[in-house]
């Protein structure tokens, strides 16, 4: 019998067997007989009126079968589709385009090559309109209205329409304002956290296959949330005769997701419509420019933040005002009640008595999105803000930033901790993580080195980020996506020989669920993980769940796995009692077997019990050994950590070099330390990237910069720092196995550590803040402004 390999084992990954042989099943690998190809005509302009679309020349291209436009889709009433924020988004436009690269028409052809030729031959006559690129200008009274034909304005009087989407706030404004008035010290900063693209190496795509005879739609697609997607499809296509039981969404292997594959993009819908219209299976695969240019973005928060405190360094109040650029519709993949995500975790790791946070959502002529890039529902923005401000305040009261943090941390004995902005933190030991990080990096020595270097005119900085994450959405009382509560699920079946299949409502994109979920079950049942097969991603077979994003799989679906296993164990106990002819109360569990209290020889292994479940079960009991759990988490989980970064700055070029980066993470109990480390390495790299390299920006005409990997700068192995990682373990008290989730912590916590290091390096010349990405021209301009640039 193989080892059990429950929690805490660095079990090698099951899924690797196929990936290292080139046998993964990604969506573009799929070939279906009779399949045709869809390619999309996209707008070169950020805002324009479409005067005409002429398909004649395209239809003459050999291999081109049809050209679909908004008018075609309108016949089926699928030219618009709902977003997760209860708005509408265009699938194909009827009148105007509202961002550069927006879908304008679909070309169907017998091959990828012919489809591309067809796209090049479609003639679209655009009348350019002035785009609104800046969210603050969008809010001005005379700003042009973005997408005037928006369905939500059908019943709204014209004077009430504007580019302001919503206002959201949390906290006690009066009390906070008062605390600021009374404060001994305050600091204030404007931060801009730019747009990012998740940029998984696999782009998005699908194969849609409509079988008119069976009325069956099969949709293989790059989705992190297959079940929710199917429900949305069923709801919006019911009038076409599509019915949920006849829609099968299959999410095959995903080449990374990072939130970018939660959304429904117009291409998927056009592919489905095209399959219905033509009767042929249709493949649509984005190229990289389409992916960067149109996929849901992350961040794009303009933040003004203030801290109030006492001269001794005690924090008293936090006040934040944010303008959120949402693009031309609000399509953010938030839980519905949280239009700004979980941004109100912005009090971070500190014990605040007063805080007030407000966010205003705004339309601009850019693609929609908002929640991608390992952001944990806007926690990255929150952490960036509080950790940046904490550093400012530390400097202001002339305390070492580490000491300052320790003074204000929520103390271990305060958990469960009720935050002033409404969260109940489950567990934490913040000083423990920071102490370990300081030890690992040799903090005091570094401060000495920094002082010496400064004497010599060399700029070196040390930056800290002590972040608190909030993951595992979420409890049904406050978390739903278009009404679907954010539970997750596991269906677990033990076969007669003691082997298991378990299916989950989530969908791995590289996190290794096939490996780790088996360990969760192995821990509970004592069945070797190697005997447990995990499946996800097929709506016909897997139980309903909300999917994998926001680090929710372990805290929610993982808990469902543990709970399902416990239900199985309960039944197993009954069978064991029957087999051993004792009462249930006389039995005790030891991983893998039940034995009679006081006589360990009298035992039945889980395998024996499983066999009995089909061959020799008590009278009156149903055969079989299986269970289902739909887990509604009682609370979120709160992973945390402390990161310390050392940077050196080249005064001649403005280059920032991350010399060292120590990351101490606490994600509760670790299922598989090897995989957790891997998640942290990847997460740190996606924290490093926006700090120094990645950014999507737009010029005043709404033209995007960063629409290929030439200019959207994913770090290579050479730029990526050599991460040093450390661990503390503070279990979650409410998760059945003490787990918390880790997929995004590092991306949430890392960028601001690097910013703090850069500001620390430049503080003595008068620099107080740098926005990310901290590129050479930006840093050089600061050096120059403060008279510290060298030209050698």
């Amino acid at each position: 019998m193989p080892e059990i390999q429950g929690l805490g084992h660095s079990r090698k990954r099951v899924e690797d067997a196929r990936f290292i042989r080139g046998r993964g099943n990604y969506v573009d690998d799929l070939k279906v007989p009779g399949m045709i190809y869809l390619d999309l005509v996209r707008s070169p302009l950020a805002r324009a009126k479409i005067k005409s679309i002429n398909s004649e020349k395209a239809l003459e291209v050999p291999g081109v079968l049809a050209v679909l436009t908004g008018e075609t889709l309108k016949e089926y009433d699928v030219h618009n589709m709902p977003t997760l924020m209860n708005e509408h988004q265009m699938v194909l436009p009827l009148d105007t385009v509202e961002y550069q690269f927006q879908e304008v028409a679909g070309v169907l052809a017998t091959s990828r090559y012919a489809a591309a030729d067809g796209v090049a031959a479609v003639e679209v006559d655009y009348e350019p309109l002035e785009p609104v690129v800046d969210p603050f200008k969008a809010l001005e009274p005379d700003a042009p209205l973005i997408w005037p034909d928006r369905p939500k304005w059908a019943d709204v009087p014209e004077e009430e329409r504007s580019n302001h989407i919503w206002h959201w706030e949390k906290g006690d404004k009066e009390a906070t304002d008062k605390a600021f008035e009374e404060a001994e010290v305050t600091v204030k900063e404007n931060l801009y956290i730019p747009r990012l693209s998740a940029a998984a190496i696999e782009t998005c795509g699908c194969v849609a296959k409509w079988d008119a005879v069976e009325g069956q739609l099969t949709l293989w697609m790059t989705t992190q949330a297959p079940h929710a997607i199917r429900t949305v499809f069923a709801l919006v296509t019911a009038h076409l005769g599509l019915s949920e039981e006849k829609i099968r969404v299959i999410s095959p292997d995903l080449g990374g997701g990072f939130g970018g594959k939660v959304y429904v993009y117009p291409g998927y819908v056009i592919a489905v419509a095209a399959s219905i219209v033509t009767g042929s299976p249709v493949k649509w695969i984005e190229d990289r420019t389409e992916n960067l240019g149109t996929n849901a973005f992350g961040r794009d928060y303009h933040i003004t933040a203030e801290l109030a405190g006492k001269k001794d360094g005690t924090l008293t109040a936090l006040r934040i005002k944010t303008t959120a650029d949402h693009g031309y519709v609000d399509a953010a993949a938030n839980p519905l009640k949280w239009p700004a995500g979980l941004f109100n975790i912005c009090t971070g790791s500190y014990d605040f008595k007063n805080a007030f946070v407000e966010v205003d959502g705004v339309y601009t002529n850019k693609p929609p999105g908002g929640i991608v890039y390992r952001c944990s529902f806007r926690v990255t923005e929150a952490v960036h803000t509080i950790e940046r401000l904490a550093d400012l305040m530390a400097h202001e009261v002339q305390m070492d930033p580490a000491e300052f943090r320790k003074k204000n941390f929520i103390k271990p004995e305060q958990f469960p901790y009720q935050s002033v902005l409404g969260w109940e933190y489950d567990s934490g030991n913040y000083a423990g993580a920071l102490d370990l990080a300081m030890d690992m990096i040799g903090y005091d020595e570094l401060r000495k080195e920094q002082a010496e270097k400064r004497e010599r005119g060399e700029f070196m900085g040390i930056g800290i980020s002590s972040f608190t994450e909030i993951v595992g959405a979420g409890p049904s009382h406050s978390f739903d996506i278009i009404g679907l509560k954010m539970f997750d699920s596991c269906e677990l079946r033990v076969h007669p020989t003691g082997k298991v299949i378990a299916r989950f409502g989530t969908k791995s994109q590289g996190q290794g669920h096939e490996t780790t979920f088996a360990q969760i079950i192995a821990e509970e049942l004592g069945i070797p993980a190697d005997h447990i097969k995990i499946e996800e991603g097929d709506t016909d077979t897997a139980p309903y769940g909300l999917g994998t994003y926001a680090s929710r799989s372990t805290p929610v679906a993982g808990a469902a796995g543990a709970m399902a296993a416990r239900k199985v164990r309960d039944k197993a106990k009954k069978i064991a009692a029957h087999l051993l002819e004792v009462s249930e109360e006389d039995l005790e569990w030891e991983q893998g077997k039940f034995f009679v209290k006081g006589s360990p020889d009298q035992a039945k292994t889980i395998q024996e019990i499983a066999f009995a479940a089909y061959t020799d079960y008590p009278q009156g009991m149903e055969a079989g050994l299986e269970a289902v759990s739909y887990y509604d988490p009682p609370n979120l989980t709160y992973p945390f950590g402390s990161y310390i970064c050392v940077v050196d700055i080249d005064r001649g070029t403005g280059e920032v070099k991350v010399r060292r980066f120590v990351a101490v993470d606490d994600c509760g109990i670790r299922i598989n330390p090897m995989i957790v480390e891997g998640q942290i390495h990847g997460g740190l790299t996606m924290g490093f990237a926006p700090a120094l390299l990645e950014e999507i920006s737009y010029d005043e005409n709404g033209n995007m910069y960063g629409s290929s990997f030439q200019d959207y700068l994913l770090p290579t192995s050479v730029e990526t720092p050599k991460w040093e990682t450390g661990t503390t373990v503070t279990p979650s008290p409410h998760h059945p196995q003490g787990l918390k989730g880790v997929g995004e912590s590092a991306t949430v916590g890392a960028p601001v550590a690097i910013v703090n290091a850069v500001v620390d390096a430049l503080w003595h010349i008068g620099v107080r803040h740098v926005d990310i990405p901290m590129t050479p021209p930006k840093v050089w301009a600061l050096l120059k402004e403060h008279g510290a640039a060298l030209e050698q």
């Binding site: 590129t775 050089w780 050698q792």
Partner: protein, 290 residues
């Protein structure tokens, strides 16, 4: 991203290739393809005919002869990188090739293509200006030699005729105390330069600069030879003041435009910094350092 259709020819000899080019005004040479194919996939280039010169023998070599380093136009970046001759005697070229693209792209991209493409962001052009290289073009009438200073006529434009093929690059072999260096600021591996500077110096007696070449990358519509900077350094001892002055003059010679890689002011200052560093390293190398 799918390239448009074209006819493909893979001649076995230069003569054949030249004949095909002569017959087809819209034909283009395919060398490493690392610039051209990308442009075709973006549909920014749609040549009617591609003349693949990869199957012509004898266009890839690195050898010293008659006082020149002769490099066949089809020599790949990776071959330059692994050449002991280049590494030991032509540090400026070695520096340059090392910062071009990434190891896989470099397995294909050619020195000839890098020059013929005449992208102001390409790195070899400035280096060849600093070296005072000569380029050999082969056409229907045989070979002609083009001094590198006459080669780049505009962005993506050279003095090559449609039916001429760049076949060889000649770099004067160093004699005496010579050294060179290439300094490039790139945002990440594989990125084109924000700005870069090539410097090649020859020191005479008492460390006086006898010859100097300075070339600038991606701060103008073509690569720029920083003549005033060269002149200021010539005949002087390469001390801090002289290097600074040359660096200042080089930055004045730059004609950068603002773009997401940086402002005009930044790029000018960067040219100064990089020129300073390049000359300093070049002088150090000329004096026998590494």
């Amino acid at each position: 991203m799918i390239p448009p259709s074209f006819d493909y020819e893979a001649p076995a000899s230069l003569e054949e290739a030249i004949a095909i080019l002569g017959k087809n005004p819209e034909a283009k040479i395919l060398a490493g393809g690392q610039s051209l194919i990308a442009l075709m996939k973006l549909r920014l280039a749609s040549p009617a005919v591609l003349v693949d010169i990869n199957r012509i023998e004898g266009l890839g070599y690195i050898k010293e002869e008659d006082g020149w380093l002769r490099i066949g136009a089809m020599t790949r970046e990776s071959d330059l990188d692994t050449s002991d001759l280049v590494r030991e005697k032509y540090p400026l070229l070695a520096d340059t090739t090392r910062v071009i693209a990434d190891p896989l792209v470099r397995n294909l991209s050619t020195l000839g293509g890098n020059l013929a493409h005449a992208d102001p962001a390409n790195d070899h052009p400035a280096t060849m200006l600093a070296y005072g290289a000569e380029l050999v073009a082969t056409g229907p009438k045989g070979e002609r030699i083009i001094p590198v200073g006459d080669f780049f006529t505009g962005p993506f434009e050279t003095s090559l005729a449609q039916d001429e093929i760049l076949t060889e690059i000649r770099i004067p072999s160093p004699n005496g105390s010579s050294g060179g260096a290439y300094q490039k600021l790139e945002r990440k591996v594989g990125d084109f330069a924000t700005a870069a500077v090539a410097a090649q110096v020859k020191l005479g007696e008492k460390g006086v600069v006898e010859q100097v070449g300075i070339g600038l990358t991606n701060v103008g519509l073509t690569p720029i030879k920083a003549t005033a900077a060269e002149e200021s350094l010539q005949g002087k001892e390469a001390n801090e003041a002289a290097i600074s002055e040359a660096a200042q003059l080089a930055s004045e010679a730059a004609e950068p435009e603002a773009d997401p890689r940086g402002s005009v002011e930044f790029k000018r200052a960067l040219v100064k910094t990089l020129t300073h560093r390049a000359i300093k390293t070049a002088v150090g190398r000329a004096q026998g350092g590494k």
